[in-house]
Symmetry: D2
C-alpha cells in the first residue's frame, strides 16, 4: 500500500526536528513536505537550519537524514492541503490557531500544540488509554464542516501521569491525584528555552500554565465518550500539582500521590500497572513498545537519565510504589516519561498510527 | 562574661568544617578543642585536612580560620569532658552512639547526628518552633543520671518543613502534610557523598531512611511538652513524603501540600507565615535572622541558588502559595531551606544559643 | 567632596545590574540616572525589570537596592550629558556605537562594550597593568574635539590573562602565549545567553570573535604609550588561543603556556606573580584588592567555584605553575578570573576610580 | 570457528561493566568467566552488583545481559588460566601488577590498567596507529618465559590525541604538541569517582599523574619497532599538557596546538585527517568504525555530548582546525574522544581483535 504523503508544519524548531527523526523510514507516512516561517521558505532544509555564525542547528541525537536535508522548505501559510494526505504540526500555539484549521478543512492534522486541546469536539488522544475517543473526530467534522480534523496530543507532563493512572482507574477507580513534577529543560525548546544561568545548580519552581494543563487534560484523557460519539464526559477525579524545572536534559520525573476508589495493597497496585496492556487498538502499532509501563524494583529507580530511553522513549517507567498514609486508600510512586519522545513528536505520530489502524484517516 | 569552652567532635568532615565556620567569632562559645578519628589525632587541623595528593580538604566557602588551622586534633575517644563546657558533634550516627553519651555524663552535647533523635527523653529542638521543649533535658538528666545531656537537631529536610508548618499549626491547625523534596547533594557529605556520574543530568528518586525521618520528626517537633516536663506528645498530623535528590549544590526545595484545620484564604496563609515571629526565646539569638520565614511574591521563587543564603542561610523562603483543591482546606506552596546552614551546623549552634539564653547550660 | 553624578546606560541587562551592585555606596560615584531601551523608559527600575509573567528579572546575588528600585528609567537616546558628571555603559556594541560618542562629547564614558576598544586613540585600561596609558584620553579629546572621552575595558577573557602576564613581562619578558579558556556562561548574558540544552553535560568549543579579541587586546594592554602620549605601541608577543564554554556559572578558567624572554625557575615565576603589586596609581583604589594575583599551592586549585570570589572577585588566582618543556623558557599555569566582576562591571568602575585618582575626570 | 573463551578480571567495576557491554555477541570472544574481589566471589554477577540498600549497581546504558547476570563470580586470585583462551583486565593498577603476570604465563591478557604500559617489552597498541608494534609480544614472551603476554591500552586521554596526530606524523611530521584537556568524570569511575560537590558549577584543573601519562604514551604509541622486533624507539616529539576535569559525563575534549615538520595549509591538515585510513590490519575489525577520524565543518563542533557516540564511540571527532601563529608551522584544533569506549573497554577489545586477526593469539 502506498504511504500517506505527510507535510510537517514547523519543521525547523526542536519539536519539528524530533518529528523528522520519528518519521524516518516510517511504514505508513512519508514526509513529502516541510514548512516553516517565511524566513526559511525557499531554502533547503539544511540551509534553513544553519545559523548566521555557521552552526548547523540540528539538535536531536539521531543524524539529519540526507533526503530531508535536501528538501525545500515552504512557507507554512502557503502549504496546499491538496498536495498531502495528512499533516503533522510542531508549531507554537498562536501559529497553530491559524494554520491548523486551514489544513484541517481537507486533511487530518496531528498536532503537538495546545491550541485546540480543550475544544469540546476535539479528542485528546493517548492511544493506550483512550483509543476509543478517536471517533469524536466525526463529530468535529460534522460541526465544523471539515473533511479533515485536528487531533492534538496532551501536554508532555500529562502523558506519563495519565498512562500510569489508567490501569489504576480500570482496576480500582481513582478519586484524587497530587503530583509534583521535576521537568527536563528540553520541553521548553530552544528559543529561548531554559537558559543555563537559570537552571545550573538550581530548581525553578514554576512553569507558567503547566499545572492547569495537567489538571484539565488528565480528566479529559481518562473521560468517556458518550454513546452517540458526540461528546466526552471528563473522568471525575481531583487533580492538584506543582510543576518544577530541574537540571535534566530530557525526561520528566513525577512524584505522584493517588487516592484509589477502594482498598488495595502495594502488590495489587504494582500488578495492575505491570499487567496493563492498554487499548487493544494501540497494541502492535509501529511506534508501540512491548508494554506501556515498566515497574522497576530497584528503589533508586526510575531515574530520568537511566530510564527515559526505555524502548525508544515510549515506555513510562515507574518505581517506589508505596502506601501513602494520608489519602484514603492512598499510594505514592515515582514515574519517568520521555517528554520529547512519547510526550511530543513520537507520541503524536503514534496517534496518527492509531487512527490509521482504525481506518479514520481516509 | 567568659565564653564557654567548646569541643567539636568530628571536626574534619564536611559537617565539622561547617561548625568551624559557624563558630568563628561566636559571642558565647569558643572552640578550644577539635576531635576526629585516630587517623587525624596528633596532627594540626590543617595537616589533618590535607590529602595524600596535596589537596587541602577544606570545602566550605568561608576561609579556614588561621587560629583553628593550627590547633592540634585529638582522638575523639580521648576527649575529656572536664576540659570543656559544651560539645558540638558532627559525627556519623554510629560514632555518635558511642561518643555522645560518654561526654553527656558531664557536659551538654549538641549534635547534628540522628542517633538519639527518637529517644523519649530527648527533645528535638528547632528554636523558633519549640523552644519550650528544652526543659525535657532535665528529665533526661534525671533518668540517665547525667550532669550533661544530648540535644540533637532535626534532619535537614524536616527543618524547613516544620518551620513553615508552625505558623499554620498555630493559626489554623494542620491535619495532613504531603511533601516532595528536591534535595541538594551537600547533604550527603563527601565520603562518598553523591557522585557526579549519578547526579549530572539526573534525579535520584530515593534517599534511604529520609522519608521516615521527616514523617516522625515533624510530629515530634510540633508536639507538646507535658505539664510536668517529663514527656512529649507528638502533634497529631498525617505526614507523607517522597524525597529525591537533584543536581543542586546547597539548599533543599520542597513542594508541600497541606490540609488545614479550618477554612482559610491564600492571603490568610501568607499572612500567617509573614507575621509569625516564632518563640519569644529564640528571637534575637546571635544566629537568629530578623524573621524565620520570608514569603516571596515572584512566582518563580523560591529557587535554591538564589534564595538559600538569605540571612546567612537561616531563613526559610516560601513562594507559590495556592489553594490545592484536593485536600480538605488544602493549600500548596514551595519552600527552600539551607540544608547545611539552618539545617545542620548553624542550626545546631542556634540550639546551643537558645539553651544558653534559657540558662539551661549551667 | 561631593560625589560625581553617574548615569548608567543599559541598566536593565545583566551587565547593567552588575554595575548597580558594584556602585552601591560607592565613595566617589553616585548613581543618579538609569537609562535603557524605549520599552523600559518611563517605568520605575523595578517595573522595568519585571517580565510579563510576574518574574522580577533581577539576577545578581546582591539584593536590588531599594533606592535604585524606585528610580525612573529613561530612554538611552534621551540622556542629557549636562545632567551627569560621568557615564557607565553596559550596552551591546551596536548601541554603544551610537550612544557612547554622543555622551563623550561632554563627559567621560566608561564602558564594558567592545565598540571602541580597537581605536588608536582609545586606551584599554587595566589599572594595575597599564595605568600610565590613561593620558591617551587627552589625545582622544584633541582629535575628536570632545570634552569627555570613552574608555572601554578589555574582554573578560583577556583580563585575567593580561594581569598574570604583566609581572612576567616586567621581570622576564614574554615572547609567546598560548591559552585555552574554559569560560563561564554568565559572560553570554541572558538574551539569549547560553541555553541549558547546549551546555549541560557538554563543552562548546567555540565562542565567536573571542579568540581574536584576546589576541589583539593582550598586546594593546601590555603596550607602551609613546613619549608624547599620542599613541600606543603594542607589546611584541605572539598570542594564540582556543576559547571554549563549560558548564560553570561564573569565573573563567584559563590554561596558559608562556614562553619567557629569558631562563627562569618555577620559583622565580611564582615569586614574580606573588610579589607583583601593579601600578602604584592603582593601589588602594576603592575597588582594589590587597594584591592583584594570588598564587595557590594546592595543586587542585584554582577552581572557578571556589576561587572566583576571592576579594569580591577582583583577584586573579593562579595555580599549577610548572615548566612546559615545549616552548623556549616555557612555563604553564592555570588561572581563574571572575568574568563579571573584575572582568566586567567592577573592573569598569575600577577604571573610573583610577582616572578619578589621576585627576583625569575633571 | 569456535569462539575464544574469555575471562574478565575486575568484572564488577564500571570498567568491567563496559567490557561486558562491549563483549555482548562478540564474533570472536565469548565471556565464560567473571572474576572480582573476594567480597563478590561465589555470588551470581547480578547479586555481586547489588548494594546493601537494594540498588542494582549496573551503570552502563546498555542493559545487563541476562546470561551474564546469572554467571557466578570467582575470586580474581583463583582464576585458572587453563580454563580460558584469553583474559581481559579491568582492575586497578596495583591489582593488575599481581594478577596479570600470573595469567600471562599461559594466556594473552588485554588490559585497561596502566601497570605495564611503560615496560620496554610491552607494546602500547592503538590499532589504527601502530598495529605493527604487535609482534613485540614475541620479545616479551621470550624475555619473560611466558606462553601468553600482556598488552595494555593507552590512557583514555592519550588515545584521541595519538589518533589525530598519526595522520599528521605520516604526512608532515610533528615536532611539538601542546594540549589542554577538558575531561569527563566517567574516567574516574565510581569509587569514589568525582563527587558531585566538586564538579557541579566547576572545573578541577588537576588530574594526578594524567599529564605525564599522556606525554610518555604519545611518544611510545607513535614510535617505531626495531627491525628485529625487540624494541621500540619512541617518536621524537615534545609534548606538554594541562589536564582538567569538567562537568561532562562522557567524552574527553582536547584543545590541541601542534607544530608540524613542514609548511602546510589548513586544507592540507584537514585532508590528512579525513583521508587517513590507519593501519591496514585494523580496518574491518569487528569494532572498527568506517573511518577513525571525522572532521566536522560546523565551528561549534565537536561537542562531547553531541559527538562522543559517533559510531559507537569508536570515532575521534575533530573540528576548528586553524593556523596557530605561535608555533613553527603551527596549527590548532579541538577533538572529542569517547573515554570509556574507544578510550577503555571497547578500545581494549579492539586490540584483542587486531591480534586475533594478526594470528598472534594462538
Amino acid at each position: 500500500m502506498a504511504k500517506l504523503r505527510a507535510v510537517l508544519i514547523g519543521a525547523t524548531g526542536l519539536a519539528g526536528q524530533q518529528f523528522i527523526a520519528g518519521l524516518k523510514d516510517h511504514p505508513h507516512f512519508e514526509l513529502t513536505g516541510l514548512a516553516a516561517s517565511p524566513r526559511s521558505a525557499g531554502k533547503s532544509y539544511r540551509e534553513a537550519l544553519r545559523t548566521s555564525n555557521g552552526m548547523l542547528g540540528w539538535f536531536v541525537p539521531e543524524p539529519l537524514p540526507e533526503a530531508v536535508a535536501g528538501m525545500k522548505v515552504v512557507n507554512g501559510n502557503e502549504v496546499q492541503a491538496k498536495d498531502f494526505d495528512i499533516a503533522f504540526s510542531a508549531v507554537e500555539s498562536d501559529v497553530a490557531r491559524e494554520v491548523e484549521p486551514r489544513l484541517a478543512r481537507d486533511i487530518p492534522v496531528f498536532s503537538a500544540a495546545s491550541a485546540f486541546r480543550y475544544d469540546e469536539d476535539v479528542p485528546l488522544l493517548l492511544p493506550p488509554v483512550n483509543a476509543e475517543h478517536a471517533p469524536l473526530v466525526r463529530e468535529q467534522q460534522r460541526r465544523r464542516g471539515w473533511k479533515g480534523f485536528i487531533v492534538p496530543i496532551a501536554n508532555c507532563t500529562t502523558t506519563g501521569l495519565a498512562i500510569t493512572l489508567a490501569p489504576l482507574v480500570e482496576r480500582f477507580g481513582v478519586k484524587a491525584v497530587m503530583m509534583t513534577s521535576m521537568q527536563a529543560i528540553s520541553g521548553a525548546g530552544r528559543s529561548p528555552g531554559v537558559i543555563g544561568l537559570d537552571i545550573l545548580d538550581n530548581v525553578i519552581p514554576y512553569i507558567p500554565k503547566e499545572e492547569q494543563k495537567v489538571e484539565v487534560e488528565t480528566k479529559k484523557i481518562l473521560g468517556t465518550l458518550g454513546a452517540e460519539g458526540a461528546s466526552l464526559t471528563p473522568y471525575e477525579v481531583k487533580v492538584s500539582c506543582t510543576c518544577t524545572r530541574v537540571a535534566v536534559l530530557e525526561g520528566h520525573t513525577e512524584a505522584v500521590f493517588v487516592s484509589l476508589g477502594r482498598k488495595a495493597t502495594v502488590e495489587e497496585v504494582v500488578s495492575a500497572m505491570r499487567e496493563w496492556q492498554g487499548a487493544q487498538a494501540a497494541r502492535g502499532l509501529p511506534g508501540a513498545p512491548p508494554r506501556w509501563i515498566e515497574v522497576l524494583d530497584d528503589p533508586f529507580r526510575p531515574q530520568p537519565r537511566l530510564d527515559r530511553d526505555t524502548h525508544d522513549g515510549m515506555v513510562t517507567t515507574v518505581g517506589r510504589v508505596r502506601e501513602d498514609g494520608v489519602l484514603e486508600n492512598g499510594f505514592k510512586y515515582v514515574l519517568v516519561s520521555h517528554n520529547t519522545k512519547m510526550g511530543a513528536a513520537r507520541g503524536t505520530i503514534l496517534v496518527a498510527e492509531l487512527m490509521h489502524a482504525q481506518g479514520l484517516l481516509g
